[in-house]
């Protein structure tokens, strides 16, 4: 059975979370994909102010589709996390505690999760319509000019994720291979 956690509880419990744990998250996620990561990395490297606080943030690799009038958000499933690997250690060093996406990560992300006591979670890809029903509110918080690649704040309820990389360096994908 998945455990229900608020984002604050989730962050607090990171050291105890293990690869393979199923969770239902309630709280705020910030979306970011390729173009937003590139901009954030540039701002961090140039020591410029950031458009959102990264301390204790949960970053969701997602570029939602447009919402129909009356819907809180458009379809919003995960994109491939590996494309964000080059930027992830930098973001974790700035206080991001969890990332959410789909697929495997590089060894440097595994190391960075251990160093910064962070986790990486996966969510089922290609079920974006279903996931949009877990979002109660959304708004663009940065880089609106990027269109679908803007950074969105998503307020989610019972958002279903599985811990894929824990802060000890265990991977759910290795567990599957070993079975």
């Amino acid at each position: 059975m998945p455990r229900s956690l608020t984002i604050a509880e989730f962050i607090e419990q990171i050291p105890a979370l293990r690869a393979g744990d199923d969770l239902l998250l309630t709280g705020t996620l910030f979306t970011a994909r390729d173009a937003a990561h590139k901009r954030l990395a540039q701002l961090i490297n140039d020591k410029q102010p950031l458009p959102l606080p990264l301390a204790n943030a949960v970053v969701y690799y997602c570029g939602p589709a447009p919402a129909r009038p009356g819907d809180a958000v458009g379809p919003c499933g995960p994109t491939t996390s590996a494309r964000m690997d080059p930027f992830t250690p930098l973001l974790l060093s700035q206080g991001v505690r969890a990332t959410i996406g789909k697929g495997k990560r590089s060894a440097s992300v595994t190391d960075a999760c251990r160093t910064h006591q962070a986790v990486y979670c996966v969510v089922t890809g290609g079920v974006a319509a279903l996931l949009s029903r877990k979002v109660k509110h959304s708004e663009i918080v940065a880089f609106a000019d990027l269109g679908p690649e803007a950074i969105w704040r998503l307020d989610v309820v019972d958002f279903p994720v599985t811990v894929a990389l824990d802060s000890q360096g265990n991977s759910v994908f290795d567990l599957v291979t070993k079975q």
Partner: protein, 280 residues
């Protein structure tokens, strides 16, 4: 000769772009429910249940199945007795894509320049493949192709000394290395033969076939079964989290090729195997 107004093509493409993105085809839904029956892993069964719930939510609310509503791959089979009046075909199709995506709450995922990377904001241009066929009809297939599945696809030019076992190894290697990022359960389109240019098109054409259909050539039909079994033996499972269902289908299409070449392309597709066809 039969005259088809370009506006009719635009209107049809717009409608197909939306329907393809909202409705998971029946053959795909059936293949997914068969896969569910065979799965023992609770995690795999849970993911397959989410996939079937997702198809219901998207259908009921007329919203996209996946936020990645794809690059619009459009296959047009034109009867040679058809005359298109008005816009040239590519313009008629692209107008339809722009209309369908911007009015259908579909994500626009195309950048005008691969290095400058500024979004065109209407999902154009589409990838259009035109084939001349006999008759006076015009058949349009829209296949919205997600970026993750494109990145997981592969092409290799083998020497003719290579054979079927090398092709099997290449397909398995592609699935092992990149399959997870293509949202399994997969549909794997394999193109064998043609040229560097055409082999990828051959592989993509294979994706258009319904799940459950077999290659028209019996030897290739046998190879499809062999590959499907080999891929599912990898136990990658739904979303790479383990299970019996790594692929729902393998479709192979082949074409004549040069005496020096054996081109092979693997067109990967996710479980959201969207495609919609209409004949004008």
């Amino acid at each position: 000769m039969r005259i088809i107004p370009a506006a009719k093509i635009t209107e049809t493409v717009a409608r197909l772009c939306q329907q393809a993105n909202y409705f998971l085809p029946r053959d795909v839904q059936e293949a997914l429910s068969k896969a569910f029956q065979k799965e023992e892993s609770p995690r795999a069964r849970g993911i397959l249940t989410q996939i079937s719930d997702n198809a219901r939510v998207a259908r009921e609310r007329s919203i996209a199945l996946c936020q990645d509503t794809g690059i619009a791959e459009i296959f047009v089979n034109i009867g040679q007795d058809v005359h298109i009046e008005g816009d040239v075909l590519a313009d008629a199709v692209n107008k339809g894509v722009a209309l369908g995506y911007t009015h259908g709450y579909l994500r626009t995922s195309i950048v005008a320049d691969p290095l400058e990377r500024v979004n065109t904001n209407d999902n154009t241009p589409a990838q259009i493949t035109v084939t001349m066929v006999p008759g006076d009809r015009l058949e349009i297939t829209v296949l919205p192709k997600g970026g993750g599945t494109e990145n997981a696809s592969a092409l290799r030019m083998f020497p003719p000394s290579a054979g079927w076992p090398n092709i099997v190894e290449f397909v398995l290697e592609t699935v092992r290395e990149k399959g997870i990022n293509s949202c399994p359960p997969l549909i794997v389109g394999v193109g064998i033969g043609g040229s560097f240019t055409s082999v990828a098109k051959v592989a993509k054409t294979a994706l258009v076939r319904e799940i459950g259909s077999v290659a028209s050539d019996a030897a290739y039909a046998t190879r499809e079964r062999e590959l499907l079994d080999a891929i599912n033996a990898l136990q990658i499972g739904p979303m790479g989290l383990g299970g019996r269902t790594t692929a729902l289908a393998v479709h192979i299409e082949h074409a004549p090729c040069h005496i020096a070449c054996l081109p092979v392309a693997v067109a990967m597709h996710c479980h959201v195997m969207r495609r919609m066809t209409e004949t004008i």
